[in-house]
Structures are given as structure tokens and as C-alpha cells.
Symmetry: C2
DNA sequence: TTCATAATCAAGAAATCTATTGAGTACTTG
DNA sequence: CAAGTACTCAATAGATTTCTTGATTATGAA
């Protein structure tokens, strides 16, 4: 087929290409962007503001992600909207997260410290939610910012951004059961919502994972 | 739960941990090591020789992988043996490969150039092989170096390193059908074996993927 | 004990990556 | 058209990564 030297050269070039993808997820800032983009399309400006990075810096990171093939962009008016290029990109971030969770003790320490009092046993699994949803007794609350809800949410979920939840309490009857979700396993919006709801006499639980995981599992979603 | 600043700090620390894993797969050399380690345990020296890196350099990369939690090591006599720390590490490399294949045109170009004449349609899928194996008419050839076969191989496969295949031809009757596999989709040993077998009047096909993929799929494996 | 081997450590040069700053471009609005 | 906004580009300092070289440690063999 090919000689030894040619083959070594091929391998080197191939691994170099794979490494382009690896390098893309080698920076905390870019990993955070990928997590936010897993919720839906976002502009450079909005990503920069949410993460606290300067606009120029955010732009450079996004360009790096685009050059590694992980995201795509489109220009609309003044803004440039970035989005994940392929579902496989979310799978990659998930694979990275799983390795980190299994192998880095530091993660356990951080999570235990930050989510004091969060009992994993209280979280509702996707199967549980699907079963409850059929019974009609459960209200699913999307606690992410409104624009993320609009970009896509769990079928039948109601937008209830955690900032605005207090004001919406009147519209949430005590007779119902609530399940709150947000961006993913480390997102706190759902936890905060559950806390607030319980403090106000509602029955509420957190969904085990977030919207991107739900969507990746092929479960029903809705876009406005 | 926690205030805004504390939460930002938690996120930063968390993404930093994820990035440790990302950084580990951001180097072509380390990616190659992970692919080799997916075949089974190997010593620093053997990895250095196979990849052409200096011993010190190989050692440093392996230490970096260990510190990121991706591999484990054990000392036996003079040698230190490294191995993948967890099946999730192979899944991570696979996720990276899939993103690269889907998103980087350069990969298609490289593969098309290097594997001239390789028809993907000729490859045998895992299901095909399982069906054929039951009929008993197929011989499965492991074309990797002997020590990789010994570290673990597809159940029922015969070790037939491609270097030694010519000499073994006499023991391979023309009446049988052969399926050759090796390290993975970009490994050429199986292609070379198929070529040699066909040139000598045998019916031979390449298996679609390699041993690590077979094992990850939960299909039957054997260790000596 | 002496020697050889396998691996790691330590130090340094070169390359690469990251964040910042300031300028420049494209587009929208008044 | 002028002003403002969103983004990118270009240049740069500082940090990090990579590879090399030579020394050091640990183990096994003679």
C-alpha cells in the first residue's frame, strides 16, 4: 500500500488533525462557550457578557473553535451568531466531562463544596419525568434565561427563568408537582428554583440532567 | 445556595478541571499514545520506540496523561507499564475522532490519499462477523503485533501479525474465508493482510473497526 | 560490587497560546 | 451622512507547552 516513511507521515498528519479538536477543548473559556452554545445559538457579545470575557477575547476564542470545526457562525445585522456545528460536538464535551468526573478527585471536592445539601437521590430521571408527564400531574419548568427557552426546550415545558420565578409564584398552583431543569448537571438555576418553590409550599424536584442531554437522548423538544 | 461571585469562582475552577482533560488530548503525541494504550498495557520504552519519540519525551507525555487522570502506571522490574485508566478514556478519544472526521475536510483528504483503493463497502461490520462466526466458515485474524494479541483479542481470533503472515500462509487453507482486523479504522495492518491473502488466492475481508471498538461494544474478548 | 537498562528529573531554548490594547471594518440608526 | 454598535484584526507581553540534553534514581544482571 505505502512504505514505512509515508505511513509515519500519514499518521503524524492524522494525529495533528485530531489534536486540532483536542486543542479546541483545552481552554476553560472555550469549554464554557461550548456549554452555553449547547443551549442554542448565541451572539459573540452575549457570550462575552455572560462569561465576563472581553469582547475581543471572546471573539478570538470563538474563531478558534470555528477553525477547529466545532462551531459555525452566521452574520445577522450587526451580530454574529455562533452555534455548535454538529451533535457530535456536544458528545465530545460530554465525554470530556465524564472522564473528568471519573478521574479527577478535584471535581468531587468542588461539587461537594458548592452544592452543599444537594441530594442526588432527589433528582428526577428522564424516565421518571416521561412517566409523570403522561399522568398530567407534573409541570415542567425551564429555569434558564428566556432566550435559551426560546431557542429550544423540553416539550411541554414552561419558561420560568429563576430570576423571575418569585413574581410568577401566584400562577403556579400548590396542587401541582413541579420539575425544574436548566443547562446541565452543574447548572444551579434548577436548584435555586426548587429551593424557592419548596419555601413557598410547592412540591418540587430537580431534573437529573439539562436540556442538551435531553435533546441528545432523542427525547421530544420544542422550538418557538 | 451561594452568591454570584462564589458561583463564578466555582464555574471557573470546574472548567479548569475539564480543561485538564482537554489539554491531555491536545497533543498529537499523546493522542497516539492513547490509541496504542487502547490495545493494551505498554511500557514507556516500547511506546517511545514505536512512535519514534525520545525516551525522556515519551516519559514526560505519559506523566502528563497520568496527571490528567487518563492513564495509570505500574512498575514491574525495570519497566513502567502504562494503561488506560478507564473505558471512558477510549470513549473520549473516539468522540474526538468522530468530531474530527465529521468536521475537518483535511481528514477526508488524508485518508483518501493514503488508503487509495480501500473500499469501505468491502469492510465487514461487527454484526456480519458475529453472524459468519456462528456458521463456522470464517477465520478471524488478529494482524497486530503479538504482544497486543496477548493483551486481549476478539474471541476466537488467531494471532497473525502482518509481518509474519507470509510465512504462515501454508497454515491457512484456501477453503476458508478470512476476516482481518487490527487497531482501529486507520490501522493498515488489516488492509495489508487482506491484500496479501487475496494475492495468494484466499477470500479475505477487513473488519470495519478494530479491537478497542469491539471491546467497547461489549462483544466477546479473550485474554491469554 | 560493578555495569547496564528503564525511567524520571531538571534546566533551558523555541514555539505556541492567552489576554490585552487599540485600531479598523461592517452594518444599522437617526 | 454622522454616530454608534458588534465584531474582527494586529501587535504584543506574559504564560505555558514542547522537545532536547544531560544528570540522577531504581532495578536487575554479571
Amino acid at each position: 500500500m505505502n512504505d514505512e516513511a509515508t505511513h509515519r507521515d500519514f499518521k503524524n498528519r492524522l494525529y495533528e488533525q485530531f489534536a486540532r479538536v483536542g486543542k479546541a477543548i483545552a481552554s476553560p473559556a472555550r469549554i464554557e462557550f461550548l456549554e452555553l452554545l449547547a443551549q442554542g445559538e448565541r451572539t459573540v457579545d452575549s457570550l462575552a457578557k455572560e462569561t465576563g470575557l472581553s469582547l475581543a477575547n471572546a471573539s478570538q476564542h470563538l474563531i478558534a473553535l470555528r477553525e477547529a470545526g466545532l462551531v459555525l457562525s452566521r452574520k445577522a445585522g450587526l451580530s454574529v451568531h455562533y452555534r455548535l456545528a454538529d451533535p457530535s460536538v456536544f458528545e465530545l464535551t460530554r465525554a470530556m466531562r465524564i472522564v473528568a468526573e471519573r478521574r479527577l478527585a478535584e471535581i468531587d471536592r468542588l461539587v461537594a463544596e458548592h452544592f452543599v445539601g444537594r441530594a442526588d437521590s432527589e433528582a428526577v430521571s428522564f424516565e421518571d419525568l416521561l412517566a409523570k408527564a403522561r399522568s398530567g400531574e407534573v409541570v415542567v419548568l425551564d429555569t434558564r434565561p428566556a432566550h435559551e427557552y426560546e431557542a429550544g426546550h423540553i416539550e411541554g415545558a414552561v419558561s420560568a427563568p429563576v430570576d423571575a420565578l418569585q413574581a410568577r409564584l401566584r400562577t403556579l398552583p400548590k396542587s401541582k408537582e413541579y420539575v425544574a431543569y436548566c443547562r446541565g448537571p452543574y447548572c444551579v438555576y434548577a436548584d435555586q428554583a426548587v429551593e424557592l418553590l419548596r419555601a413557598n409550599g410547592r412540591t418540587a424536584h430537580r431534573l437529573q440532567d439539562g436540556y442538551p442531554e435531553w435533546k441528545a437522548a432523542g427525547l421530544p423538544v420544542e422550538t418557538v
